[in-house]
């Protein structure tokens, strides 16, 4: 018998290949939009609906004028939408797992991290898109950024950083949930109350005492205050710092958990 003369395959993935694989998988998540414009519409329609409903239905009752309320609520809607959207990472990951796509990727000689980081990069792009859309639409309705381009970019940067920290929780949920519908349930039953019991959409001073005490500690309040400060003026440093501390805390808790579960899958 002749000895086997198979060329020895490489033992691991080079850094350059890792980057290219990650970008390929990010491309894969973004190119889906081309065939499923509904996803992008989903991403866009819900915040626009909220924007219109809150401005024109509740605005007058809450602030006395729809214009005043829009100015107050848009930053909060940006926060709410960014937090909701972090769960799309969980839904996408969970769908890949239940369809077997995740297994196919795992059976390829690619960097173990690529399926995860590729998806997160794509979801960050979608966050930026949703932010631009909501701010743009808000401006059409009369919203004014009073802090200039620096404030606008600062708000975007803060939202992206917080969303990235939150995506670790999302990864954990995506890996653990038995199906994508469970992730949707989580979104509705946890994210919804969390964002509503904050300063995102109304002044918590009007809440009953116990709820306003909760709103004081709710991280969504600090993030909303920070984004509001960055877009229409007001305190910025304090709420931004607290928001970043929360984001760091989230990462410290959820990143190791998510990575542990992910490793077991990979």
């Amino acid at each position: 018998m002749t000895a086997m003369t198979l060329p020895a395959p490489p033992r691991r993935v080079s850094a350059g290949a890792t980057v290219s694989q990650t970008l390929t998988l990010a491309w894969r998540s973004l190119v889906q939009i081309k065939h499923n414009p509904w996803e992008l519409l989903d991403l866009s329609i819900q915040p626009i609906m909220f924007l219109l409903l809150f401005t024109y239905v509740f605005g007058g009752a809450i602030s006395g004028s729809t214009g005043d309320y829009l100015q107050f609520a848009l930053p909060g809607l940006l926060v709410q939408n960014a937090l909701f959207y972090t769960l799309s990472t969980a839904i996408g990951l969970n769908t890949d797992i239940s369809k077997g796509v995740f297994d196919r990727l795992r059976s390829l000689p690619i960097a173990r991290s690529a399926p995860l980081t590729g998806r997160i990069i794509a979801d960050t792009f979608k966050q930026v898109w949703a932010f631009a859309l909501l701010v743009g639409f808000g401006m059409v309705l009369g919203f004014r950024v009073t802090t200039g381009v620096a404030g606008l970019l600062g708000a975007l940067a803060l939202l992206v950083v917080v969303a990235l920290a939150m995506s670790w929780m999302s990864v954990l949920i995506g890996l653990k949930a038995s199906n994508p519908e469970k992730v949707q349930m989580f979104s509705f039953s946890v994210m919804m109350p969390l964002t509503f019991t904050s300063s995102a959409l109304v002044d918590p001073a009007t809440f009953p005492g116990w709820l306003s005490a909760w709103a004081e500690v709710n991280p969504v309040t600090h993030l909303s205050d920070a984004i509001r400060g960055l877009l229409i003026g007001g305190a910025v440093a304090g709420p931004t710092l607290i928001s970043l501390l929360w984001a760091a805390g989230f990462m410290v808790v959820f990143a190791p958990l998510a990575i542990r579960v992910f490793r077991r899958h990979v």
């Binding site: 000895a3 086997m4 198979l6 998988l25 894969r28 065939h35 369809k99 795992r106 000689p109």
Partner: protein
């Protein structure tokens, strides 16, 4: 066992090798000491009912699961400690078609090509060639979610071939396909074998194993209970099968009595036929004489090798394609435990 160094085992001519694989899920032993050896270029059919451990074995060999005990290698590379090298040699097609439904056929294959390090142009050419080979060229620009079951399965198989793997794992590739798609897929698998690819194919269908496999192993309850070529397995029951169909159905009891008298065991009577396991071919002329004496005309009288179905039944006491409700949950567990 090779340490961290990349040293293909010399003198090892098996493309796929496994020794004493064990995998437990709680109390259930999905695999209970499985040995496998597939020489390069051969097709091994792994035959067994749902929950027998076939999928678990494939997932271990394809580096998706770590065994609790035992070891396995692909072309000498250990599936646990040298998983990356193993992945660069294998292709995997699972029970469910693992294609991204939101992407088109072309994009699915492009993505795999790019992930495997092909240039954009090479990935495009490879995708086009594979789509052509699997008769998907016309559908290549459509999202995979619009594909029929058979088309998806072909796209899935195409995706597993982008990297020209030397070893291919096909986990129940035809489950849920209509007969025409199944025959088509068989043709594709035969083509791969002609290219020299080593294939491990799991199936619940005896006919599929009979049609495609060079060698067959039979799994039941996480163990290999028999192995050999299709002919060897058929011979293991030590019997040929005699079938007699009387021209007049009311004569069945008489025919049955004659066969029992000559063969010694009570035969099976069903479908207007008397069927009996036969060890000594000399019984056939004896039966013919006795029937002739009684004036019974046999419209059909055959002596044939036992089918794999009968072999399976003899080996396990149950039929391969029977789905036992209790077994299903093991397969569910296997997917993401």
């Amino acid at each position: 066992m090779p340490s961290g160094r990349v040293v293909p085992m010399t003198g090892n001519h098996y493309a796929i090798e496994a020794q004493g694989l064990v995998k437990r899920y709680g109390e259930t032993r999905a695999l209970d000491g499985v040995d496998l050896a597939v020489p390069a270029g051969r097709l091994l059919g792994v035959l067994g009912p749902n929950g027998a451990g076939k999928t678990t074995a494939v997932r271990i060999l394809a580096t998706l699961l770590t065994p609790d005990a035992g070891r396995a290698s692909v072309h000498g590379f250990d599936v646990t400690s040298q998983a990356h090298q193993v992945r660069s040699m294998i292709g995997l097609t699972g029970q469910y078609a693992a294609v991204d439904e939101m992407l088109t056929g072309v994009e699915n294959l492009l993505m795999i090509g790019r992930l495997l390090g092909l240039s954009r142009g090479d990935a495009r050419r490879r995708a086009a060639a594979l789509l052509e080979r699997f008769h998907l060229t016309d559908a290549g620009g459509r999202a995979a979610k619009t594909y029929s079951g058979g088309m998806r399965r072909r796209l899935d198989l195409a995706a597993s071939l982008v990297g020209s793997p030397q070893v291919l794992f096909l986990d129940e590739p035809t489950t849920g396909l209509d007969p025409r798609s199944r025959t088509e897929l068989w043709g594709v698998v035969r083509g791969l074998m002609a290219d020299g690819v080593t294939v491990l194919l799991t199936t619940q269908y005896l006919e599929e194993a009979d049609q495609l496999a060079d060698d067959i192993v039979v799994f039941d309850h996480g163990k290999v209970i028999a192995s050999g070529t299709s002919d060897q397995l058929k011979a293991t029951t030590g019997a040929q099968v005699l079938e007699v169909r009387p021209a007049a159905e009311h004569q069945l009891p008489t025919v049955s009595a004659v066969v029992e008298e000559v063969v010694g065991d009570p035969p099976e009577v069903s479908g207007g036929r008397v069927t009996a396991a036969v060890r000594d071919p000399a019984v056939v002329p004896a039966i013919v004489r006795r029937l002739d004496d009684l004036g019974i005309i046999a419209s059909e009288l055959t002596l044939r090798k036992s089918s794999l179905d009968e072999v399976f039944l003899a080996l396990t006491g149950h039929r391969a394609e029977e789905r036992e409700a209790g077994d299903e949950k093991v397969d569910d567990l296997e997917v993401y435990a």
